[in-house]
Every structure is written in C-alpha cells, then in structure tokens.
Amino acid sequence: MAEPKTLPGANGKRYLLGRVFIWSLLLIAAVLYLGPIYVVLSTSLKDLAEIRAGALLDLPHEMNFAPWREAWSQACIGVRCDGLQPYFMNSVIMSVPSVVISTLIGALSGYALSLFHFRGANIIFALMLFGCFIPFQIVILPMAQTLGYLGIANSITGLIVVHTIYGISFTTLFFRNYYVSVPQELVRAATMDGAGFFRIFWHIMLPLALPIIVVSVIWQFTQVWNEFLFGASFTSGGSQPVTVALNNLINSTTSVKQYNVDMAAALIAAAPTLVVYIIAGRFFVRGLTAGAVKG
C-alpha cells in the first residue's frame, strides 16, 4: 500500500486519532491472547496457599519451581506416580518416526503425483484431499480392530503406524503442490541428459524442496504431538502420549487439587510445539495456509 502520509486525509488530527484507535484495538487483542498463558505460567509458580487466596491475575510472590518438579517427575497419573516424564518420552518416541516416515513417503509420492497427466489423476488427487478432512471418528473402530489383529494394540508402535498412515495425505499434498510450481524446463533438461525418475528426484527435486520439507516436518510434528483422539482410543496406562496423560492428571479426582502442578504440566506438554513455533514460525504459518490453498 502507499505510504499513509502521502494520501489525502492522512495527515493531521484525524490520522493521529485513527492510529490511536488501531493501536488500542491491537494491544487489547494482544492482552487477550497472552492472558491465558500468563495466568497458566504465574499459577504454575505459586504455592497452593497463594492460589487459594484467589489472586488469579497477580504475579507470584516468589518463584516457586516445586510444582514444575512435581509435574515432571512425581505427580500421580493413574496408578503411577512418576509425573509426566514417561509420557513425555512416549510422545517423543511416537513423534519422531511418524514425522520422518510420513515426510519421506510424502516427498516421493508427492513428486510422482506432480508428474501425473493421465486421466483420473485428478480423482486420485481428490481422494487424497478428502482424506485430509475426514473426522477420525470414522476410522477409530476399524483401526482398533486392525491394531489388535496386527498385535500392536495399546503400544507406541501402533500409534506410530496410525499417525504415519493418516499423515501421508497431508505430506503428499504439501510436496505435490510444491513440485507442480517447479519449472518443468529443469526436469525436461535433466531427462534429456538421461537422468531417470529417481535421479531427478534425488538430485534436483529434493534439494529444491528444502522449504517444504521444513513445512511438512513442522506440520506433522505439531499434529502428532498435539493429537488426543488416537492416543485416548488406542492406548492405556504406560503407553499413553503426553496429551492423554495431561488430561488424566487434570481430571483426576482422587487427591487434593494441585492447580499449580496442573498448570506446570500443561506448560510442559505444550513446550515442544511452542518452541518449534517460536523458532520456525514462518514455516508454521506456511503449513497452516497451505491447507487453505490446496489444489
């Protein structure tokens, strides 16, 4: 847009008033977005007496890290009392292979799909696209049966398989949409030189695709780490991912409610994806918006 100062009506009192209005709305919004994380963080550092005094929005009197230690390694979840730590590790063990495998498969099949020009290629594309939108309630019953049949029910391996399978639609489409925008001359020139499918993929397309690899990895990681339905449906006890364990901790009714420990646990569960977002926010946004400009 043009510089505001060069525009008619863009100077003087009215302009200033407009700026004040815009800035106050933006700052109110910022406070509302930051509010919950501030409350959660400050509650996690208070002791229980301070919390019971009911000063929700006040800063903690002193930094008290005991709730964090308890949330990480001592809080009771179900029958076990070693905190969120084992479930956090479950989520790490679950996420890494799911992300890597689904991104690799997506990179290769997305490239192949971008080369399709025959009739019916659009149908394959549409079927994959629809697969990104289905409510997973529609697959959990047969999936529970299948995991049992394969002998990987109630295991992290089972969750890795599930996340990989349902991630492929997304990763394939990320890569496919990226590759169709790569100039065809590059591929044609390489074909002239006698390079085959895999050579072109490996030496030309994959190095070009670095940004979309980052997008795919971040997207998949966020999805898998934050996922709850599969974890709650297919695992119990010691093989649960961190989201399910967090929910069990929050909703346990057995002991005195330790709100500070609950809040520390919530922040621990949220930390990995938040860190990824802060470090690589640009790519995170691209993954989100790629979902809106499919096709």
Partner: protein, 303 residues
C-alpha cells in the same frame, strides 16, 4: 553378444518401466489410503447397519441404529450443540481474524511481534487450551472470584458449570485458539491486493474504511470461503477441547457429536450406535467439503 534388435527391445521395456514409474511410486501410499480411509469408512458404514455392541458383528439389520440415534436426547443435545458451537465459532473466528488482519495491514511497526502473539494458540494442543481456560473460568478460584475480591461483588461468570451456558465456554476457548489462524490467512491474502487500485481509490477521495469495505474485502471472497470451510469442518471434528474443558458437562449438556461417538464406542460398548454417529459426522463434513473440493478442482481444470 546380443544383437542390436534385442538390445532395442530391452531398452523399450526399461523405457516403459520408466514411464510408469510415477504410477508405481504412488501406488503403495494410494492403496494405503484406499484401505485405511475408504475401506474403513465402508467398514464403519456396515457396522452402523448392524446391532453390534461390544464386538463388531456383520449381520446387517437395517437402519435401526440410526433410528435409535435420532430418538436419543443425548444425541439431540450433541447435534444441537454442534449447530450453536459451529455457527458461533465460525462467525467469531472469521470476524476477529479478519479485523486483526485489516488492522495489522495498516503499516504497524510491531507487526511481526503482534502476529506471533495472535497465532501462538494454534501451536498448542486443545487439551492444553482446555486446561488453561478451565482454570481461568472456574468460579471458585478463577476470574469470577478475582473480580469479586477486587470489589465488583455482583460479578458473575459461572458459564462453565452452568448447564445452559457451558457450550458457549467451548466457543470462547475455540475462538481464542483459531482466530489467529484466520488472521494469518487474511493477512497473506491482503498482501496480494493490487496497490494501484487502492491508490486510485484514494485519489478519488475514498476513505480507508470505504476502500476496505467496498473494494478490498469483496476481492477476498475466496479466502472467506476457504476459511469458512476449514473452520466449519474443524468444528464438526471438535473433540479434545470439550474433553479437557467441560468433559461434556454439566451432565451431558456440552457434548458434541464427536464426544457422543467416543462415549458410545469406547465406554458403553455400543459399537453400532457409535458407528452410526460417526457416519453422521462424516456426512456433515462431506456436505461442506465435497462441494468445495468439487468447485475448486473444476476451477483449476478449466481456468
């Protein structure tokens, strides 16, 4: 040893393999998709026509599970909640996201920082969001008691434990989480608007507000449509937020269809009923997604 003719034939087999290689590479993941998405949809569809309870049976009985479903108050509440939650969630997320994008488009120096703040909720899980809002909104120690202690003694905000209002709490938390995403969508679209048109309108004496309402926002219709479709289908899939925030309560007053399905399938051994409700969810999603995908793909093909 081989004569030229044989070599030529070998070449052509390799050539042909090379030509079909893309199809061969796509085939395995595509078959996985056909089996694990469309095969499983068929499986659930068949189970929804049986009287399966704890274990799936394949003895087709007809549409009795659907009849049971529609007769249940619990399903009625869940579907009614979806209508309330879905429409308010989509409406407010669109409005707030669009407003923030337009405001951020006014040459704001701290744009990067503000954008990061508005969008971070999208990076955390619904369970964490639910946990945070459940704590803030709990009447005994949360924002209600805080306001009362500040001296505003008549302040009341007990929606989370109120049968009639609990679903609106879910709306608040969900809008908080998703509006930044809508903002990001609109902001990237606003950056592609042709500056010359805006400059010309300015020279004609149109105010900034009028330019946005009259020219820019109408040109963003495709973004409105995409955002609508994504938000609407997310609202139908909403599950974890309710679990963490209200656990469907008080009673079952704030359950959504996704929670109903989980309850029937995994807690009450009503697999047939769960499958029927899952099919209803799929049908609702399809009613939104299929026309959208159809028009998008057609436009791509002919445009």
């Amino acid at each position: 040893m081989s004569n030229p003719r044989q070599r030529k034939q070998q070449m052509s087999v390799l050539d042909r393999l090379q030509r079909y290689l893309p199809q061969l590479v796509v085939a395995p993941p595509f078959l996985l998709l056909v089996f694990f998405v469309y095969g499983f949809i068929a499986w659930t569809g068949i189970i929804s026509l049986t009287d399966s309870r704890m274990l799936p049976s394949f003895d087709i009985q007809g549409f009795q599970q659907y009849a049971r479903l529609f007769a249940m108050d619990r399903w009625d509440v869940a579907f009614h909640n979806l209508l309330i939650f879905g429409s308010l969630y989509v409406l407010f997320a669109l409005m707030i996201g669009c407003l923030l994008a337009v405001l951020l488009d006014q040459h704001i120096r701290a744009e990067g920082a503000l954008r990061t703040i508005y969008l971070y909720p999208m990076a955390i899980s619904f369970i964490v969001t639910g946990t945070a809002w459940k704590w803030i909104l709990n009447p005994s120690l949360g924002i209600e008691s805080y306001m009362q202690k500040l001296g505003w003694e008549s302040f009341q905000f007990d929606w989370i434990v109120n049968r009639d209002m609990a679903i609106y709490v879910v709306v608040i938390a969900a809008v908080w989480q998703a509006s930044g995403f809508v903002m990001a969508l609109f902001l990237s679209a606003l950056r592609t608007v042709d500056e010359d048109i805006i400059r010309a309108a300015h020279l004609d004496g149109a105010s900034t507000t009028r330019i946005y309402i009259g020219i820019i926002l109408p040109s963003l219709r495709p973004v409105f449509l995409s955002a609508f479709v994504i938000l609407a289908h997310l609202s139908i899939k909403s599950f974890d937020l309710v679990v963490a925030l209200t656990n469907g309560g008080p009673g079952y007053s704030s359950t959504l269809p996704a929670n109903f399905m989980y309850e029937m399938a995994f807690r009450r051994n009503q697999i047939g009923l769960g499958a029927a409700s899952a099919m209803m969810m799929l049908a609702t999603v399809a009613a939104i997604i299929v026309p959208y995908l159809y028009s998008e793909l057609r436009a791509k093909h002919h445009g």
